[in-house]
Symmetry: C2
Subunit: 150 residues, 2 copies
């Protein structure tokens, strides 16, 4: 059965979250940055180090979307995540690479170290914190009308 | 129908979350600090300012628990939250006071400004971020065995 591009992206994002978890990073999907772009997966570890992962469901998805280069200044490490069928030669070999499926992933190529400055790290961490708490509250209160909040 | 102390605490905490939301704070309940104590509600706003609220279900709950004084150094503002029946004369009048029910609350007495130092603020924000993301992932993956993670 064929799968839509969006479904595949969600599946791979979940596998990436599992990989990040195993690496000691708590993560969120679809994190909106100050620049009004959404990164696919963002992880943060107990040192406050930040990983951004751009999930590509296939070559077409990679070719149409060049937003990822804007993300490099919002993280310490940056990775593309693709599935095992993706023609990885298409991807710039200067960036990190994760091969993932729905249940996990592996780092095939490490990321450069971009080392966020302190002010940017503070801002990104605060955004991450607030988005996560907001979504959790929404998840815990499925009847939106109840509190007239969400 | 009588309500257990724990249920009442949960109910009031939810009302406090609603109040904090209206004040521009995203919040979490039961946030474990580095000192291994759990604050009842912690909120954080878009400036990174941190509010801690200690929910008291009744006089007995207040009398048996003096942990709250340890929380003052982990926040910019501190409040007790009680319901309308609580004998508020029992509470120290040097601290903030919220009257809450399950659906919201109001600040009856403002908090002092404790103004966290930068390092402590960074640590508290990071803990908040990671706890929120972890709980969201758990909420989104109710079948714990699926990823063998949670």
């Amino acid at each position: 059965m064929s799968e839509s591009r969006a479904d595949k992206g969600v599946r791979l994002a979940r596998g990436v979250q599992k990989l990040l978890y195993d690496m000691g990073y708590d993560s969120l999907t679809e994190v909106k940055l100050r620049i009004r772009r959404r990164v696919d997966v963002m992880g943060i570890n107990d040192k406050g180090r930040i990983i951004v992962v751009e999930v590509k469901s296939g070559p077409a998805d990679y070719r149409v979307d060049e937003k990822w280069s804007d993300y490099l200044e919002f993280c310490d490490e940056f990775y593309f995540a693709v599935d095992a069928d993706f023609p990885t030669a298409l991807l710039p070999d200067s960036h990190g690479l994760i091969i993932a499926d729905a249940f996990g992933g592996a780092i095939l190529r490490p990321s450069a170290d971009f080392t966020l400055n302190a002010a940017r790290r503070r801002n990104v961490t605060l955004r991450f914190a607030r988005i996560a708490a907001r979504r959790l509250l929404e998840a815990e209160n499925p009847i939106k009308e109840k509190f007239n909040v969400f």
